[in-house]
């Protein structure tokens, strides 16, 4: 079972996402803050992170940079109520950017794509 970490400072969002994603067959863990995020990822080893951008104490785009320094290959989906942060080049480091909506179908689709995504890291055997 794939494990998803939700990082969002709104409890209602965490609860909604957890319920919906558990119904999809994922194991969900949540954090209400970006504090100790790297340690949480080290301990829990999630397969994917859904990361809010505008949180009371942390900026998700800065947290994304921290994640990328330590865990380059972990899929991260930025999930924000605002589309304007797409204009920040730091958002390019995310696998996907989803604008929050009561309808979670886009988020679910992007989670599926991010988990299915595969790019070989080595050339095929018959190549030099």
């Amino acid at each position: 079972m794939k494990k998803i970490l939700i990082v969002d400072d709104e409890e209602v969002i965490r609860m909604l996402y957890a319920e919906e994603l558990e119904d999809e067959g994922y194991k969900v863990i949540t954090s209400g803050t970006g504090h100790r995020l790297i340690e949480i990822i080290q301990e829990e080893r999630p397969d994917l992170v859904v990361l809010d951008i505008k949180m009371a104490e942390h900026n998700g785009l800065d947290l994304l940079q921290d994640i990328r320094k330590e865990f380059y290959n972990i899929p991260v989906i930025l999930c924000s109520a605002y589309s304007t942060f797409k204009g920040d080049l730091k958002s390019i480091a995310a696998d996907y950017y989803v604008v929050k909506s009561a309808d979670l179908s886009e988020l679910k689709q992007k989670i599926k794509m991010a988990l299915e995504g595969h790019v070989p890291t080595h050339p095929p055997e018959n190549e030099a």
Binding site: Q65, R68, Y72, N73, K86, G87, L89, K90, I92, A93, A94, D95, M113, A114, E116, G117, H118, V119, P120, T121, H122, P123, P124, N126, E127, A128
Partner: protein, 405 residues
């Protein structure tokens, strides 16, 4: 091989900045000066050299380069008289860099007007860390780089699964190890020897598992932009032909790829983003060239693309310029059909590529119309959406590629 002028008799270098050129006497001093400043400021502890790899220019490029005052020593290389092509220039640079034992090589275009010393830092520094290939990331005008936006970026992203926003940016960094890999490749086709070299370098790095990053340049690329309908020249045929050649060569790699992954970013914190200068596009000319393509190539298109796509293309033809739209999903599937036709060698490859040009004009016309009311950021969102369309077309590519012989 090359003709060389090396007044300092340089035997070794850690870091090389290469400037490929052909008849750039009026502009080459700017990137040469900035490269020297960047090497002194950020890599003062390294042995560096600036190399102009030229095509035996007749306009005084060699003199302009060698006469530019720099703290860093310079070497001039040239292909023999009559041998042209950016790829041939870079091949000479690869050889010379290997001979010098370079750890890192940076390439910047000779016609660059907006380069700063920091470009050298940002393209080279990742090479002394964990990366083997560095692609540039800069803001471009929404109408600049239409081959990149409508072909190179979406195809490379969907086929190889790596998001490199400027795969033919012209300004790169690569390790000495990757230069050796480049030299050992057997596929130095004529298109690679010319404008196909940029996409060939990017794709070769991807398919060899080289760690790639994108480096934010902080300033827009200001060079000699062109109206895409005015003069496409051989660049289109060479770039797109190389993309298709590389798809044939690397099918064992890309057939395993699903969706795409982001690529590491280097070089944030460079202050306010500067806006690029405007690029003018004549939409009516693009539309007319698309329509003219039907007179010349309608029968050939009917053989190259599937019946369903051919029917949709016929519908697009009937649209007036006011209502013109060439949908992204139609464009993606037509490009796939052309790649498959190219692989199978129906008719001949050069002819196939030539018949693609009016369709590219049609898609570019539609793209420019759609972008007209948009900001640069909105245009970027549209390009990202188009990439999503290409990624969703990957099953169609796999089916056509392996089913069609």
């Amino acid at each position: 091989m090359y003709i060389e002028e090396d007044p300092h008799n340089i035997k070794a270098a850690d870091l090389v900045v290469g400037i490929p050129s052909y008849n750039e006497a009026g502009l080459i001093s700017c990137p040469t000066e900035k490269a020297s400043e960047g090497l002194v400021k950020y890599f003062g502890d390294k042995n560096s050299v600036i190399i102009n790899c030229d095509n035996n220019s007749s306009d005084g490029t060699r003199q302009a380069f060698m006469n530019t005052s720099t703290e860093v020593p310079k070497i001039y290389l040239s292909t023999p008289p009559g041998v042209k092509g950016k790829g041939n220039n870079l091949r000479n640079l690869f050889r010379k860099s290997r001979d010098l034992g370079a750890q890192a090589i940076v390439v910047v275009d000779a016609d660059l007007k907006s380069i700063t010393p920091r470009w050298i830092k940002n393209l080279a520094e990742p090479l002394f860390e964990d990366f083997g290939f560095v692609a540039p990331l800069y803001v471009r005008h929404k109408y600049d780089g239409t081959i990149t936006n409508n072909i190179a970026y979406p195809i490379i992203r969907s086929v190889y699964g790596r998001r490199v926003r400027q795969p033919i940016g012209g300004d790169f960094g690569f390790s000495g190890e990757l230069a050796e890999i480049y030299l050992n490749q057997a596929d130095w086709a004529p298109s690679v020897a010319e404008f196909g070299i940029d996409i060939w370098m990017t794709t070769t790095a991807m398919c060899h598992g080289i760690p790639i990053c994108q480096s934010y340049m902080g300033r827009p690329k200001v060079h000699k932009p062109k109206d895409p309908g005015e003069s496409l020249g051989p660049m289109f045929l060479q770039v797109v032909g190389t993309i298709f050649d590389m798809m044939i060569k690397n099918v064992e790699f890309w057939k395993e790829v699903r969706w795409s992954k982001p690529t590491a970013i280097f070089g944030f914190g460079l202050g306010e983003m500067e806006m690029p200068p405007p690029v003018e596009v004549d939409v009516e000319r693009l539309y007319d060239k698309f329509q003219a393509g039907f007179a010349d190539y309608n029968t050939i298109w009917g053989k190259l693309i599937s019946a369903n796509l051919y029917k949709k293309l016929g519908e697009v033809k009937t649209l007036s310029l006011t209502n013109f739209e060439f949908p992204a999903n139609l464009w993606a599937e037509i490009l796939i059909d052309f790649a498959v036709a190219y692989k199978n060698g129906l008719n001949n490859k050069k002819k196939i590529m030539e018949t693609l040009i009016p369709l590219y004009y049609g898609r570019t016309c539609s793209f420019v119309i759609e972008l007209e009311p948009m900001t640069i950021q909105q245009a970027e969102d549209l390009i990202e959406d188009q990439c999503g369309v290409f990624e969703h077309a990957k099953p169609y590519l796999l089916k056509r590629w392996f089913d069609t012989k």
